[in-house]
Symmetry: C2
Subunit: 112 residues, 2 copies
């Protein structure tokens, strides 16, 4: 068993190309010994973005705070707190914040 | 891509032995086509409990609201909002709420 509080988890600036105003907390990752999937919490500034990219693994996303748009396969979908997105592997995607926000984004360990 | 809002996801009473005052929302499960892991949100009443049990798959838990104790392998660990627990497969566990609460509990699809 491993216990931690989210306040103790460092917020790392995301340096990937296309990321803007974005920090990530790796709540549980393979470094913690989790065998299958990783639990990440992202903090995004107003007008911040995640990278616009495509990869083989999926995302399961839940927005906790903020609003904006999710770009998936050349379409835009608005988001607000309480909205959740499943983005399968192979679909190009980007999160574009219109206000400061926070969201959970889960990935299989193959994406770490 | 699949989008849904948590308000649209039914709250199902958990009927397993040992569950008390417990409802679950399956935000993403194999029924939605997710390939690897499932995203569940639990709502627990004051004095509510999850089943006390052991199984082969792990849990990744984040408490969003409430307080109480997590029983793992004959030890009790207090929880409050912001606390997170990784409970590996094979460890006996139960969540015991002292106040009304809400938590995320993720499992691999092998546990569905």
């Amino acid at each position: 068993m491993l216990k931690k509080n989210i306040e103790s988890v460092p917020k790392d600036k995301v340096e990937m190309q296309g990321a803007k105003g974005l920090q990530v907390q790796w709540l549980f990752s393979p470094k913690d010994g989790v065998p299958n999937f990783s639990f990440r919490i992202f903090h995004i500034e107003e007008s911040g973005t995640t990278p616009q990219h495509t990869h083989a693994w999926e995302h399961e996303v839940l927005f906790l705070e903020g609003e904006g748009e999710v770009f998936v396969n050349n379409q835009l979908y608005p988001f607000k707190a309480g909205d959740a997105f499943f983005i399968p592997g192979g679909e190009e995607h980007q999160i574009r914040a219109k206000s400061k926000g926070k969201f959970i984004c889960l990935i299989p360990n193959s994406g770490c």
